[in-house]
Amino acid sequence: MSAKLLSPNALARSHAPILDFLAPRTLTSCTSSISRQRRRHQSTTPSPPTPDSAAASGLNPPTNAATPIHQLSEQQRAFLSSALRVNQTGELAAILIYSAQSPILTRSHPHLRPLMKHMYDQEAGHYKFFNEVISKHRIRPTAMTPLWTAAASFLGWSTAVLGREAAMACTEAVETEIGTHYNEQVRVLLDWAQKCGERGESLGPELEALVGQLRTIRDEELEHLDHAVENDAKEARPYELLTEGIRAGCRGAIWVSERV
């Protein structure tokens, strides 16, 4: 079973097709400065994210005369809504799992404190990012928040009580599912970008930035997966039951959150 789990880097590489150049990693540094500029706007009209001056709020977005921006179809918008909704609720669940696991784990294994803190901080950053995306793009958040809050806290607490290996196995299972999920989203978006390119359109700065951010977040999640495996996740007993159960739970939660 463990042989089937591809190494995270191979997973990342196999799902990141040639079109990586459309969303180079350097875009993420531009995105954060653009989003900071946007936050300074106080007007009610949501302004398009022009990298120009703040005075451009409310005007039509400047379209590059050479490549028109693709207008998203209903299906594409629906896909983006479900995907981002799931991402946001997933990050909330991750934060809750770590918050529940940390006190119990670090009491008996103090050397894990920096690692847990590092992973928590990264998840908190992701959560903040997706919260901003959801409220900015007017996506409905999931109605299952109270249920997922309870479930994630219970999951974190129970795996921590089972021991360090079980807690790491929980992280490993969750991050594997999340990694696959993000990969799928990145793949779909890059597929759209390719189809737009064939038609002579571009995806638009928003979506290109989103792809870049998703890739960064996916890489960080897979990094957590590596950390979990390094910390003897595979030594957990019963390994199969724990990981398969948690992965099935994650998939169920993703399925429900995409709809509700």
Binding site: M1, Q42, S43, T44, T45, P46, S47, P48, P49, N60, P61, T63, I69, Q71, L72, E74, Q75, Q76, R77, A78, F79, L80, S81, S82, L84, Q88, N131, I134, S135, H137, R138, I139, R140, P141, A143, T145, P146, T180, E184, V188, G204, P205, E206, L207, E244, R247, A248, R251, W255, E258, R259
Partner: protein, 210 residues
Amino acid sequence: MPATTRIPSTLLGAVRASTSRVTPPIRQRCAYHSYDYAQPPPFPPAETKILSSAYAHVPNHGFTVDALKLGARDAGYLDASTNLFPRGVFDLINYHLVTQRLALKDSVQFPEEKDGKKLGVGSKVRSLTLARLRANEPVLHRWQEALAIMAQPTYIPPSLHELAALADEIWFLAGDQSVDTSWYTKRATLSTIYSTTEVFMTQDTSKNFV
């Protein structure tokens, strides 16, 4: 025991395979809103022309087929063009609802500061809701009839959809950033308050709706 461990693993394989399909898109109520391009107009061009001219006749003729026919004539179409609207008069009411909702964005401006304090989300919601209620004024004497039409069983779902969209629009323009259950409760309470106030407004005879 090899047999018993093999069965669960094939089961697991089946479960994993069935859930790893790409999810088919589900119809969304609040879908992703892009800022990269201007939003397309809510109605197709011919319908927009007829409905906007018909809307001008509503104060005199009410939300009726007469208004639609006059509108079609004004827009230069045949009277029978009202067949473009399978839902008949409800489409005219819907036009009023949608255009007034979309107009909120441009019709309400907030000052940066008021009396030395930054405007809170609550007061913005209040201003936006009042603005939307005031936008009902030109057709208010016909609005009870419109509400009766909207209450017909076939039209209840789209009417509720529009009410929810209005509540979402108002909260969004007020700068709401909630991303949990309060997203739902805020919109539900605003929808209730708005609809009851609207009904009251149709019977309100005080000057300037004091």
